[in-house]
């Protein structure tokens, strides 16, 4: 009982723990139940890439050991979203994703979400990488799983509002256009909204505290803008995976928004109060 309690406290001490668990579950779901093309070489390339890059940063740039958790999240994000013809491209994307974090550091944060940057950069630079927005299909089950797991992550790291602001804006605009304006039935709207990629994006990518504004209101406004632009690109320019592209172009504005609210300090992954409790439990 004591061990279980300790484990829970430890799990809650860092928002990334739930995130890693959730992402691993999604990967298993995709590969085992949805039958994705899963080449172990690709995954090996991704994970060795992120771990080696992060390892170098720990060794030579004095990053804390637990930043490996972030690297693991980036690796899982790439595994869940990115498709490419060649394992080398996965390695390339992984190294770029982690490398970017150190090269574009502003006030302890970075300009892009690493997985998002890795995918977009690999797709742009090589032309041989892509994302498959249709790979999740749309079953109610996946929403439930993604949603609850996402909530667990976010309620812990207090970034729930970012994902919700994005998703609600996107859904509201879609509803206005698809159902109210064009006159499609509700299930056409639901099909668009039950896309697993959209949910994954809402709760596991746009919520990255390292690339969202520090101030709560700014963060909500920013997420709503991402939602509105994604909707616009998807519906009027027929861009596939619009949210991913939008995020790529909007996260670099975060440092500017942070300047508007200099009094709020940057996000820290570790939840200090629970960490202290954890230590107390250990000492008892």
């Amino acid at each position: 009982m004591h061990t279980l309690r300790n484990t829970l406290v430890w799990l809650r001490s860092d928002g990334r723990h739930f995130q890693i668990i959730a992402q691993i579950s999604f990967l298993c779901y995709g590969v085992l139940l949805l039958g994705w093309d899963a080449d172990w070489k690709n995954y090996l390339a991704i994970f060795s890439g992120v771990i080696v890059a992060q390892g170098l940063a720990i060794r030579f740039a004095g990053f804390p050991m637990d930043s490996l958790k972030s690297a693991l999240i980036t690796g899982l994000g790439l595994s869940l979203l990115m498709k490419a013809n060649d394992p080398w491209l996965f390695l390339f994307a992984a190294l770029l994703a982690i490398g970017m974090k150190f090269l574009t550091k502003v006030n302890g944060k970075h300009l892009w979400n690493p997985a998002n940057f890795g995918i977009v950069a690999a797709a742009f630079l090589s032309g041989d990488a892509w994302i498959s927005p249709g790979q999740w299909g749309s079953s109610a089950l996946i929403i439930f799983i993604v949603g609850t797991a996402g909530l667990a992550v976010l309620s812990n790291i207090k970034r729930l509002e970012t994902g919700l602001a994005f998703l609600i804006t996107f859904a509201a605009l879609e509803y206005i256009r698809t159902v109210l304006y064009l006159g499609w039935e509700h299930d056409v709207f639901l099909l668009k909204l039950t896309n697993g990629s959209l949910w994954l994006f809402s709760f596991f990518m746009i919520t990255d505290p390292m690339t969202t504004p520090n101030h709560r209101k700014l963060r909500i406004g920013w997420a709503m803008i991402v939602g509105a632009i994604s909707f616009y690109l998807a519906n009027f320019y027929f861009v596939n995976g619009a949210p991913f592209w939008t995020l790529f172009f909007l996260t670099p504005f975060t440092p500017l928004l942070d300047r508007l609210s200099p009094r709020i300090t940057s996000f820290m992954w570790k939840n200090e109060s629970t960490t202290k409790k954890h230590i107390q439990h250990q000492s008892i």
Partner: protein, 488 residues
């Protein structure tokens, strides 16, 4: 061999004829003829934002009653509409169809030296009959005739409409009977600013009135949208409809972006007795996969780089590979004379759709994915001759017994067919086993395993990897130890 081929061809023809055809527009008949359109074929060519769509239908009924409405994103010029020969569909279909491949074992006791393979495709589609009524068009406010062309045997009108009610009135006033289900979706297309491409047959110009086939119509337009408007096609069909999409791109595979694109099971070993009913086999296999994937997936049946510069067009080929002329006819006009360095990637998708599972039109994307894929089912013939007395021969018979056991189980897993008929097949060669081996094989016969989802070694690798690294790396102790080491 010729007999076998004929049998297969008949089986294949029967399979396909049980379906009737469907479309991405709706057929509108003037009489309440029961028009079924349960299977259609579309060639979709995409190069940048340039689209060429060729539509083939198997309209069955009086040609005077044939009328078709397809939503298109732009007003098409006369030069952008062509009538092409049905042959192009046959070529693409025969070439990319799921295939049955035969292999022959060698007799290990040294008598039979056959070592070759051959293969058949299952293919073949169907078509229509004719007659025409022409009359003056009634005008309706808010509905504008953007263009009107006579192209070969077809009368074509392109309409734009401000509102769906007006469009419906126009269609009905001009003799198009709009099915109830199509009525509901006219509005979203009108609101999306789509134009309506109306087709009727001009019987005076029908070249071969006895022809079974209504020739396919090919349209070209430049638009970022890469989709097929399924919803109108759901108009007058009962239950589910099948559509085969042959996509040609400059880059790689085409995949669906709003539904899952799933590979059909492939490279499976199946028993020899399936050969005469290969058509039925594939039909059951498709049915089972379709249900298994929740009835709302798009299935990949073929994907191949068929560029002029590639040497291997198929492995094995079930039909003659399409030549450059065929691709150009299909709309892949970037392959022109002397320009053989361009890429053409061929994707064949099979979708079985119904209103409840496919509420939205199919949307696609071209991906750089250039991995080849084909639906291939393997039959392996046993070694010929009666003499299996040598040791290797006896071992071969034991292997054969086990192999056949697996084949029968595989068949049951793939199609849901009962494996009851398989027992005689499994034991067929046991008579050549000497009594001692027969006893052993009975005891040691490896239980047949069904490799429905193939073993994925990476899962094991990554799970072990994550299981070991995650807790170790993130524990506070290891952090301290590591930092103590690097920062003495």
């Amino acid at each position: 061999m010729k007999n076998t081929l004929t049998t297969l061809a008949i089986a294949a023809a029967l399979l396909i004829c049980q379906h009737a055809l469907a479309f991405c527009g709706f057929y509108v008949a003037k009489a309440d003829a029961s028009l079924f359109n349960n299977k259609s074929e579309v060639i979709m060519v995409r190069n940048g934002t340039r689209n060429v769509i060729t539509m083939s239908s198997d309209f069955k009924g009086d040609l005077s009653e044939f009328a078709m409405v397809v939503p298109v994103p732009t007003v098409l010029a006369e030069k952008d509409i062509r009538v092409v020969e049905r042959r192009i569909f046959d070529v693409l279909n025969a070439y990319s169809a799921p295939r049955l491949v035969n292999y022959y074992d060698n007799n290990p006791c040294g008598y039979d030296m056959r070592l070759y393979e051959d293969s058949y495709s299952m293919a073949v589609p169907a078509m229509a009959k004719e007659e025409l009524v022409s009359k003056k068009l009634t005008t309706v406010k808010g509905v504008h005739i953007e263009a009107q062309y006579d192209i070969d045997e077809y009368n074509i009108i392109i309409l734009s409409a401000k509102e769906s009610d007006g469009l419906q009135i126009w269609l009905e006033a001009n003799g198009y009977k709009v099915p109830e289900t199509a009525r509901q979706v006219l509005e979203p297309y009108v609101r999306s600013n789509m134009k309506f491409f109306l087709v009727k047959v001009n019987l005076d110009k029908v070249q071969n009135r006895n022809s079974e086939y209504l020739r396919p119509i090919q349209i070209r337009f430049d638009h970022a949208k890469f989709m097929l408007p399924l919803r109108l096609g759901m108009a007058n069909s009962n239950g589910s409809q099948d559509m085969i999409v042959y996509a040609l791109t400059t880059e790689g595979r085409v995949e669906c972006t709003n539904y899952r694109t799933v590979k059909m099971p492939t490279d499976r070993n199946i028993p020899l007795y399936v050969e005469p009913k290969f058509g039925d086999f594939y039909k059951s296999l498709f049915e089972k996969s379709y249900k298994q994937e929740g009835r709302n997936a798009v299935f990949l049946e073929y994907a191949w780089n068929v560029s002029p510069y590639t040497a291997v067009k198929c492995d094995p080929c079930v039909g003659p590979p399409p030549v450059n002329y065929d691709f150009v006819e299909a709309g892949a006009d970037w392959i022109t004379q002397g320009n053989f360095h361009q890429t053409i990637f061929f994707t064949r998708l099979h979708v079985r759709y119904s209103r409840d599972k496919f509420p939205s039109d199919l949307q696609f994307q071209v991906t750089p994915n250039n991995e080849n894929f084909q639906c291939r089912y393997v039959m392996t013939y046993p070694a010929s001759g009666d003499d299996f007395t040598c040791d290797a021969g006896q071992e071969y018979l034991v292997d054969l017994y086990n192999r056949r056991k697996k084949e029968v189980d595989e068949l049951a897993a793939l199609t849901g067919w009962s494996s009851a008929n398989g027992s005689a097949y499994i034991r067929e060669y046991n008579k050549h086993l000497n009594p001692r081996m027969r006893e052993n094989s009975r005891n040691e016969g490896i239980p047949a395993t069904i490799a429905q989802r193939t073993y994925r070694p990476w899962i094991v690798v990554s799970i072990i990897f994550l299981a070991i690294t995650t807790p170790a790396l993130i524990s506070r102790k290891s952090t301290k130890i590591f930092h103590a080491k690097i920062q003495p």
